[in-house]
Symmetry: C2
Subunit: 413 residues, 2 copies
Amino acid sequence: MSDWTEISGGITAPRGYKAWGMAAGLKPSGAPDLALILSDVDAIAAGVFTTSQVRAACVDYCRQQLQAKASAKAILCNAGQANAATGEQGNIDAIETAQALAEALNIAPESVLLASTGVIGQRIKMDALKAAIPQLVASASESGGEQAARAIITTDLVPKSIALETLFGDRPVRIGGISKGSGMIHPNMATMLAFVTCDAVVSPPLWQEMLSRAADRSFNQITVDGDTSTNDTLIALANGQSRTPAITGKGPEADRLEAMLTAVCEHLAKAIARDGEGATCLIEVQVSGAADEADARQVAKTIVGSSLVKSAIFGRDPNWGRIAAAAGRAGVKFKQEDLRIQLGDFLLMEKGQPLPFDRAAASQYLKQAAAGEYLKSDTVLIQVNLGNGSGVGKAWGCDLSYDYVKINAEYTT
Amino acid sequence: MSDWTEISGGITAPRGYKAWGMAAGLKPSGAPDLALILSDVDAIAAGVFTTSQVRAACVDYCRQQLQAKASAKAILCNAGQANAATGEQGNIDAIETAQALAEALNIAPESVLLASTGVIGQRIKMDALKAAIPQLVASASESGGEQAARAIITTDLVPKSIALETLFGDRPVRIGGISKGSGMIHPNMATMLAFVTCDAVVSPPLWQEMLSRAADRSFNQITVDGDTSTNDTLIALANGQSRTPAITGKGPEADRLEAMLTAVCEHLAKAIARDGEGATCLIEVQVSGAADEADARQVAKTIVGSSLVKSAIFGRDPNWGRIAAAAGRAGVKFKQEDLRIQLGDFLLMEKGQPLPFDRAAASQYLKQAAAGEYLKSDTVLIQVNLGNGSGVGKAWGCDLSYDYVKINAEYTT
C-alpha cells in the first residue's frame, strides 16, 4: 500500500535538522520543558493553529510571521506556561523570546517560530528561559529529536515521535514529527502541539495546502474532549536538503509527499488520542458511503466523540444502539434504512436493523483490544456505512474509563 | 417581572385536561411506565422532535400526524422500550398503539399522539400495553398530572412537573408541563420528553411558532452530554378551555402567553439538567454583548457543555481559564480583549485579562451551591460579556462529578 518505511530519529531524521530538549526550570516538576528545532538552512514553513477566539500570544505571533514570510530556521517551544490570556505583556514576552533565540543563533528574529503549552493566564518565566537558551543552542544535534519530543510534553504518559522515508528516484525523502497532548481533560492544560520536519523541495503554497489537508484528516479528526485549546499549533518545515526535484504543483511526487505527510500527521494524532487519561484502547471509526469526505469525517468524529460510545467500549459492551444514535445526530443526512454498523468482524446492524450476533465474542473482541500493544494491536475498529455515496473518512479517540474520570473528578485546587 | 404565579397540578392544572400514569409491565422493574394525557375537546397541537437521522417510530408518526392536522385529543407515552431501530415493525406497532387507544376512547386514531422512551432496538411490549389501556383510560382524572409525570421517567431521580397561571382580563389562563430525561449519560436511554398543556385560545401556526421559539430558549439550551436521542419529543396542546379571547397574531396577549410558555419550558429544561447523574448543582450561563441572540446562546451552550468547566465546578475550582477557553472555541466571533467573566459575585476577568480575586471565597460560593435546595438555591451562575452587541442568551447544565463517572464507567453488560 504505502511506499515508505518507518525509520528512527523523529524530527532529526530528515537531512539538515538539529534539535534538543532540556529542563530550563519552567515546570515546577523540574522535568524537561524547553525544546528547540533547528534547520541548517531557511526552511519553507507552514502552520495550522487554533481557531479559538481566545488565543495564546505565540499563536498570534506565528500567524503574523508566516503571513509575512513562509519560512523559518528555528522553532522554540516551552512547556509550563501557556502565555495565553496574558494581554499585551504576553505579546511582548513572545517577541523578546524570539529575539533572545535569534541572537544566540545569529539569525533574524523573523526566522524564529514559537509555541507554548502550560497553564493559561501565566506568563513564561522569562529569566529562566533566557538563561537556558545558550545551553539549548549549544546542545542541539542531529540526534536530538527524542530529547525535543520529551521536552514538549506536559501530562502525556509517553513522548510521541515518528519518522518516515521514501525514495524519489534513488534519493531518500524523509518526514519526521513529534507531538504532545493527551487528548482528554487536564486540570489546566489540554494543548495539542505538533512539529513536522521534512527535507523535500516543495513550494511554500503547496506545502501549506498539503499541511492543511493533512491536518483535516488527522489532528482535526481526534477528539480532545471537545475542548479546543488556546495554544493548539501544528508547524511543518521543509528545508529542501533531500536535493530531490522541486515539487511545485500537482503530480505523482506531490501526491506521494502529501500521502507521507498525512501518514506522519495521522500517526501523531492517533498517539495523542491513545494517550487520553485512563484510556485502555484506541478507537478508530471508519465511515464510508457518505455523500462526500466532509460528511464521512463528520459522522466518524461524532461517533468517536460520543461519551455514550466511549463508555460502552470501556464497559466492553458491543452497544450498536449508541453508535447508531451518534451517527444519526451528526448533522449529516442519510437514510436510516441504509445504515450498516460493524464492530471488528461483528456485523451488528444492516439496512437500519439490528442483527443477531455473538455478544460474548464481540465483548471479548473489545477486551482483547484493551490488552493489546500500544498503537499496534490496541485498536477497536468501528466501521459504519451510510449508503451509496463515495465519501470516506476516519476519526480516532479513546474509551472513557473509570481511571479517567477518577483523576478528573477528584481534582480540586 | 413575570405576571404569572406558580400553581399546583402540573399538566392537569389547565382547564379541560385529564391524565394518569400506571405500571403496565413494560419496565422490568415494575415501576410506572405508561402515561396518558387527555383533552376534553380537540386541542391545537404543536411539536418539536429530534433532528437525528435515526429516529423512533413514534417520532415519525407524530410528525406525519401533525403535518396532516395540527390538533389532538390524547397523548400516550410508554417507558421501557424506545421503539427506535425497530424497522417497519416499529411503525406497525406505533399505528396499532394509536388505534388501540383511539378505540378505548372512542375517538379517531388521528387524534392520538405517541411518545416512547427506553431501550433502543426493542419493540414495545404490545400485549402488555394493550391490556393496560382500559384501566389507564378509566383512571384518567383532573388530578392525575403527577401520576403521568412519574410514569414517563426512566432513570430520572425525580419526576418533573410545573404549572403557571396568569390572568387575561379576569379569566385565568394556565400552562402545565411535565418532562423526563436526566440530561447525562445512561446505559441505554437518554431520551428527553416533555408534554405541555395549555387552556388558552390560540391559532395553530402561532402556537407552533411559540413552541419552537420556547424550545430554542430552553430544551435546546441544556446539554444532554451531547448525545441527541432517537426519541426526543416535545408536544404542546392548547385546548381553548380558558374561554379567553382568541390569540391569532402579534400583540401583548401573544407576548404574555409566549413568555409563560417559555417559562414552563425553561423550568422543565432546567429540571432535566439538574437531574444529571451524580450532579451536585445546576449551572446557569448567561451571555450578553453578543452580536445576536443565536451567538449568545451558542457561547452559553458551549461553556455549560465543556467537560473542563463542568469538572472544575465539581472541584469547586473558580477556573476562569476554562470558561474563557470554552467561550473562545464556540464558533462565535468576538474580540478577546472585550471578554468579561463573572462567577456569582466574583469578577474573574475583564477586558480579556485575569483579575485578582478572593479564590477561597469564590470556591466557597461553589460549595454553597452544591449544598443548596433543589432548583432554588443550588445554581452556580456564570455571566459572560462578549462586547457591545445586544444579543443575550442562557444555557443550563450540571457539574461533572465523581459519582457521575463512577456510575457510567462501571457499567458493563
